[in-house]
Every structure is written in structure tokens, then in C-alpha cells.
């Protein structure tokens, strides 16, 4: 049974890809092993500056694994081995010149499940700048907290209760808090691992708008299971399947004119 997923033209990004977008991150023949099991079989991908790259594919295809290589979150997993080259601004992130802690300050991450610290809203945002010594005194920190929350579209909802615990917010607010927390350390790239999978449609719409605004200042890589979402928020889409990167192209191209039949099958809902 095949259900044709029709994606209306209005859902496509209206904004034209203005100007030239430099390459922010590059992956060359990236292979990942969990013990003896190979999760990624040689990924080649270029991530462009100030654009949103969506990674789509069926469950277990390796898109989250790939995402977690980009800021070396896989380091924390026992038995995980990464081969190949991943570069940020031309520097190997697994090389000697880049430290994992420094890398994660430059490449922030938003997770699938909202995971605010069990601290106040203020402290959630202030934690990153504090450990990196970004703000030298209180006023500066207040400023960072405010702008981060404003950019994440949460300021008006929480400005009167910054001292209340972040865990008391609703799911959608918590996820925006996590985005604000990621923004607060001024990263260059933001990785999002299915940021809307635990949220309702209204909260999802909020986050999607936010992603669209954020790409003016940040490079964004988003993993999603929701193809409409990929179509709505991204300019580039990469389709992963069984540890391979099958196809990567402009989002419009992928959804209207996929070259590979596996991509065709997935976006039309034949499997996945």
C-alpha cells in the first residue's frame, strides 16, 4: 500500500537561498562502529553556513549517530569508534587542535527530550556562559539570559518567573528553554536531534518558526522523522538509509524530484 504524501508548494521554504553560503562543516568517509557493529558506512556530507540541513531516514539509519559525531557526543558512549574526517571550518574535530569541550561550546546541541537542568530558568541559561567565563559581571549575564530567551521566543512567557525551576515549564517551553540554553554560549552550529518529537503541533510550530529565524545567525543541522517538518524548515536535506547517506540535495529537489528510488519510497511513505 502506498500513500502519496503530497507536499503543497506553500510548505516549501519561501525564502530564496540568498548569497553564497560557505561550507561550515564537512564529513569525509565517516564510519562509526558500536563495538563490532557498524552504524555508519562512510558518510560524505557538506553542511553550509547559515542554512538548515535536515537529516531524514527510517529509524536506526544512523542519522542521530551522525549528528552526535559532529560535536563528539559519541565520545561518552562506551565502545563507540569513529573513523574518517569531520571538519569544522577546515579543522579536524577529532584532531589534536580541537578539544571536545571547546568543540561542544562551538557546536551546541538540542536533544530529543527536553532536558532542562533541575535549576531555575535563569540558571539554566546562565550555566553555559558561566562555565565558559563569557559574562564578567551580573548585568552582562542578565543581558545574555534575556537575549537568549528572546531569541528562543520564550522571554515574554517567563520574564516574571526567571527564578522558578525550568522543569516546571510545559514541554514546548522546556524545549525552547533548551534552545535558549544552547544559544546562550553563542555557538556557531546548533545540532537538533528530533527536537519536536515530544511536542504537540502548536509547540512544534513555535519551534519551527524559531529554527527559521535562527538560521540567520547559526548553522543548523536537524534530525527529524517528520518529513513535512524537514520540508518546512530546511534548505538542504540528506536522506539516510541503513547507515548510508543515500542522497543529499536542496530540500525542494529531494521532495519533488528524488533521484534514488529508496528516497522516493521513503518520502512517499512506502516504508520508514
Amino acid at each position: 500500500m502506498s500513500v502519496q504524501t503530497h507536499i503543497p508548494a506553500t510548505a516549501m521554504p519561501s525564502r530564496p537561498a540568498a548569497g553564497i553560503h560557505g561550507t561550515k562543516m564537512v564529513a569525509r568517509d565517516v564510519k562509526v562502529f558500536y563495538g563490532a557493529k557498524q552504524a555508519l558506512k562512510g558518510i560524505n556530507l557538506e553542511i553550509q553556513e547559515n542554512r538548515v540541513m535536515a537529516l531524514i531516514g527510517p529509524s536506526g539509519c544512523g542519522k542521530s549517530t551522525f549528528l552526535r559525531c559532529l560535536n563528539r557526543m559519541n565520545d561518552t558512549i562506551e565502545n563507540c569508534r569513529v573513523e574518517g574526517l569531520i571538519a569544522l571550518d577546515g579543522e579536524d574535530v577529532y584532531g589534536k587542535n580541537i578539544d571536545a569541550v571547546q568543540l561542544r561550546a562551538r557546536v551546541g546541541m538540542v536533544f530529543q527530550k527536553p532536558n532542562p537542568f533541575p535549576k531555575s530558568i535563569y540558571d539554566n541559561i546562565a550555566y553555559g556562559p558561566r562555565i565558559h567565563g563569557i559574562a564578567s559581571h551580573r548585568d552582562e549575564m542578565d543581558e545574555i539570559v534575556q537575549t537568549s530567551l528572546q531569541r528562543a521566543g520564550l522571554w515574554n512567557e517567563v520574564k516574571d518567573r526567571l527564578r522558578e525551576p525550568g522543569t516546571g515549564l510545559s514541554g514546548g517551553q522546556q524545549q525552547r528553554l533548551c534552545i535558549a540554553r544552547a544559544i546562550a554560549v553563542s555557538p556557531e552550529v546548533i545540532l537538533m536531534d528530533e527536537p519536536c518529537s515530544a511536542l504537540d503541533p502548536i509547540a512544534t510550530a513555535h519551534i519551527e518558526e524559531l529554527i527559521d529565524e535562527l538560521r540567520e545567525n547559526y548553522t543548523i543541522v536537524i534530525v527529524t522523522h517528520n518529513m513535512q517538518q524537514a520540508a518546512r524548515v530546511s534548505q538542504k536535506t540528506a536522506f539516510f538509509h541503513l547507515g548510508d547517506m543515500v542522497e543529499c540535495d536542496d530540500t525542494e529537489e529531494i521532495f519533488t524530484n528524488p533521484r534514488d528510488e529508496r528516497t522516493q519510497g521513503y518520502i512517499t511513505g512506502r516504508y520508514g
Binding site: 533541575p118 550555566y127 544552547a182
Partner: protein
């Protein structure tokens, strides 16, 4: 066309019978559970009831009123025994002959003259005056007043002879015997005389021991748990260490006592009977408990918090100290306090390192000779005097009070620091 009325499988007689059996099984299980809880509660009530009923009398002590004349010459000769005795003879005018008076001498605690001396030393202006003082009665008088020595048994089988009983009756008649709260129990060290014996020496000994235990086992235990749980690679060596820690938690405490005897006393030559050594041994014993409890608490912290911290660029150590450890703290505290409570109630290892001695002085430092509450209970339980029986139970009550206090503290701290996410 006939339509067969087919009942669904779930409406059949067989299914109903099956359902009834399932409910019956559930009912039986509930009843068994309630019976188990009932038996456990009953045991607890019997245990506590027997201790309380035997021990509560120890919190009261009989005192005898004396009108002491602090004669200057006698005070200078420090002949307080004579002063006390003369006052007592005056209270019982019927006793005139030497034999009766000798019997009367046993009515007062042998500590009475010292009590008087301490009073005079504290306030020399009393010399030359007549003072009304209440002094402790001998433990046998105390037991008689509490009804533990019965007057209806023949004199030859009784601890108190007829002369003493007559004297007590005379004292009761003129209101010279009273029962007061037994402060000595809380302010004195051990003594051969029950009415002069107190638990303070043992309490201080236990406290000093626990301080050493805590200072050593808490930081070492938590650091070991954090390293093993958060930083150590998972390989054969760490598996081996984990198995050994779990085994150590199950080693009988007397073995730790023997280890302490051989290593701390034998090899390092530390002093015998000292809270320092007791604390070292208890620390060895408590370490595995704290490590295991802390590891469980650290494991319970959701990985998403670690990822969140690492994701904003916190170093692994910052992740642990800023986020994981504070969240695991309630569990760690609970485990620690339960480990400490276990150390407080432990006797066997202390027997091995000599903390079982009869020590009258209240220890003032970590290397002074000392004993501990459970050891004090053990020694009092071994004493023949009737009055030590009730003091044994009273000491158990005091130990239980400390244990309940510590466990209550554990619950309070857990509630206070517990955070939901």
C-alpha cells in the same frame, strides 16, 4: 434458517470459573501479605515493649534526704563519710545499736560522701552550717522502692535484711525518700555501682568513633563511587573491583575487627581501646556500603542531564560536580547515614581492638581509652546486679533513640534535597 446462539468465549461458564480462581488467588496473596505485615509489626511491638517495660524504671532513681551538719573539723579532715552517716542515723532514731547502724550504712550510695564533698568544694561558705541534701540511695534500696525486691520472701533469701527494710519504712514514713529523674545516667561514665553508672562515656566514645568513621569513609567512598561510575572504563579490572566491593559489604564485622587488631594495633602500633582505631575499623566496614549506595544513586541520575551539561560544553568533571552529584546527593546521604547507623550499632569489631574495657572516665580525645554504646550495653548485660538489668534496657533505648534520630535525619535530608525533573 436457525441461528445458533453462540456465546463468546469470555462469557462461557469455564471462563467465569477461571476468573473466580484468579480473583481467589489474588485474595489469598493479599491476605498472606497482610499476615506477614501483621507478624512483623507484632514482633516489633513485642521487642520494643519488652525493652521499654524493662528499661523505663532506670530513668528514675531513689534519693534519701539528709540533714547534714557540715562540721568544720570533719570537713577539714575530709571525713565526709562520718558526716553523711551521722545525718542518716539522725533520720532513723530507732537505730541505736552498732549492728543496726552498720546495716544502715548500706542504705546510701557509696558515692554519697563524694557528692557532698563536691558540693562543699563548690561552695566553701557552707562549712559550719546545716544543709538539707538529697543523696542517691544504694542500688538495692532503689530496686526495693521500685518493687523488684519483694518483702514477702524469707529474710535469708532476700537481698535486704529486715533491719534495712524497717529503716526504709521509717524513712518513707517521714518523707525522706523520693524518686527523681536519674540524671546520673546521662552525665556519668561507667561505674561498678549501678546508681553511679552512666552512659555518657560510651556516648562520647561512640561519637568520637563515628566522627573518625565519617571523615574517612564519606569522602573516600563518594570519590570511589564517582570515579567507578562516571570516569572508569568498563573493563575486566573494574568488574573485578566491583565484585570485590560487593563482597566486602558482606564480610562479617568481626573480620574487620581482626584486621584492625593486626594492622592498626599490631603493625602501626596505635593505642588500644582508642576511638581513633575504632573509627578506622568502622570506616573500613562502612566504605563498601557507602560506595554501593552512592553508585546506585549516581546511576539513578538520568543520562539526559549529563548530555545536557556536556552539550553546552561542560567538562566531564564539571558535569559531575555541577549536575550529577547534586542530583545524586539525597541518595548518597541516605546510604551514608544508614552506613553510619550500622557503624553506631556495631559491637564485634570493637571487642577485637579493646574498646570493651571498663572505663570510668569520659574520653576527651581520639586516643583516650573509650568504649561505645553497644559495647556498654554488652558489659552491663553481663553484670550481676539487678539494677544493671534495667540500665541495660535503658542503654538500648538510648541507642535506639540515636539510631531513629539518624534515620530520621536521612529521611529529612532526602526530602529536603530531592528534586524532580
Amino acid at each position: 434458517m436457525s441461528v445458533a446462539v453462540t456465546k463468546s468465549r469470555y462469557q462461557s461458564e469455564e471462563f467465569s470459573a477461571r476468573l473466580r480462581r484468579r480473583y481467589a488467588a489474588e485474595r489469598r496473596f493479599r491476605i498472606a501479605g497482610m499476615v506477614a505485615v501483621g507478624i512483623a509489626s507484632l514482633m516489633l511491638v513485642v521487642l520494643l515493649g519488652s525493652i521499654v517495660s524493662k528499661g523505663y524504671t532506670a530513668f528514675w532513681q531513689a534519693q534519701i534526704r539528709l540533714e547534714v551538719t557540715l562540721d568544720k573539723q570533719q570537713v577539714e579532715e575530709r571525713n565526709y563519710t562520718a558526716i553523711v552517716r551521722q545525718a542518716l542515723y539522725a533520720q532513723v532514731p530507732a537505730a541505736t545499736d552498732r549492728a543496726t547502724r552498720r546495716s544502715l550504712n548500706d542504705l546510701l550510695s557509696s558515692g554519697a560522701p563524694y557528692e557532698l564533698e563536691a558540693m562543699v568544694n563548690a561552695n566553701p561558705s557552707l562549712v559550719g552550717t546545716t544543709q538539707t541534701v538529697w543523696v542517691r540511695a544504694d542500688d538495692e534500696i532503689d530496686q526495693f522502692m521500685k518493687g523488684f525486691i519483694r518483702r514477702d520472701v524469707p529474710e535469708s533469701e532476700r537481698r535486704l535484711n529486715d533491719v534495712k527494710i524497717a529503716a526504709i519504712d521509717a524513712l518513707v514514713a517521714n518523707g525522706s525518700i523520693r524518686s527523681t529523674f536519674n540524671t546520673t545516667l546521662f552525665t556519668a561514665g561507667d561505674s561498678r555501682e549501678p546508681e553511679q553508672a552512666g552512659i555518657l562515656g560510651a556516648v562520647v566514645g561512640s561519637a568520637l568513633t563515628l566522627v573518625v568513621t565519617m571523615l574517612l569513609s564519606v569522602p573516600i567512598g563518594i570519590a570511589a563511587a564517582v570515579y567507578l561510575e562516571e570516569f572508569a572504563p568498563k573493563n575486566r579490572w573494574t568488574d573485578l573491583i566491583e565484585v570485590n566491593i560487593n563482597n566486602l559489604a558482606a564480610v562479617p564485622s568481626i573480620i574487620f575487627g581482626l584486621l584492625g587488631l593486626a594492622v592498626f594495633l599490631g603493625f602501626f602500633g596505635l593505642p588500644r581501646s582508642a576511638p581513633l582505631v575504632g573509627g578506622l575499623v568502622m570506616a573500613l566496614m562502612t566504605l563498601p556500603v557507602i560506595i554501593i549506595a552512592s553508585r546506585v544513586a549516581l546511576k539513578a541520575v538520568p543520562p539526559s542531564i549529563r548530555e545536557a551539561a556536556l552539550g553546552v560544553g561542560a567538562s566531564p568533571l564539571q558535569t559531575v560536580t555541577h549536575h550529577v552529584l547534586p542530583l545524586a546527593l539525597p541518595g548518597i546521604l541516605t546510604g551514608t547515614i544508614i552506613g553510619m547507623a550500622r557503624a553506631l550499632g556495631e559491637t564485634a569489631p570493637l571487642l577485637m581492638i579493646g574498646m570493651v574495657a571498663f572505663i570510668v572516665d569520659i574520653p576527651g580525645g581520639l586516643t583516650d581509652s573509650a568504649t561505645a554504646i553497644p559495647v556498654q550495653i554488652y558489659m552491663w548485660a553481663d553484670s550481676p546486679e539487678r539494677a544493671f538489668t534495667e540500665r541495660t534496657s535503658a542503654a538500648i533505648l538510648i541507642l535506639l533513640a540515636f539510631l531513629i534520630l539518624m534515620n530520621g535525619l536521612a529521611v529529612f535530608l532526602r526530602k529536603k534535597f530531592e528534586r524532580r525533573w
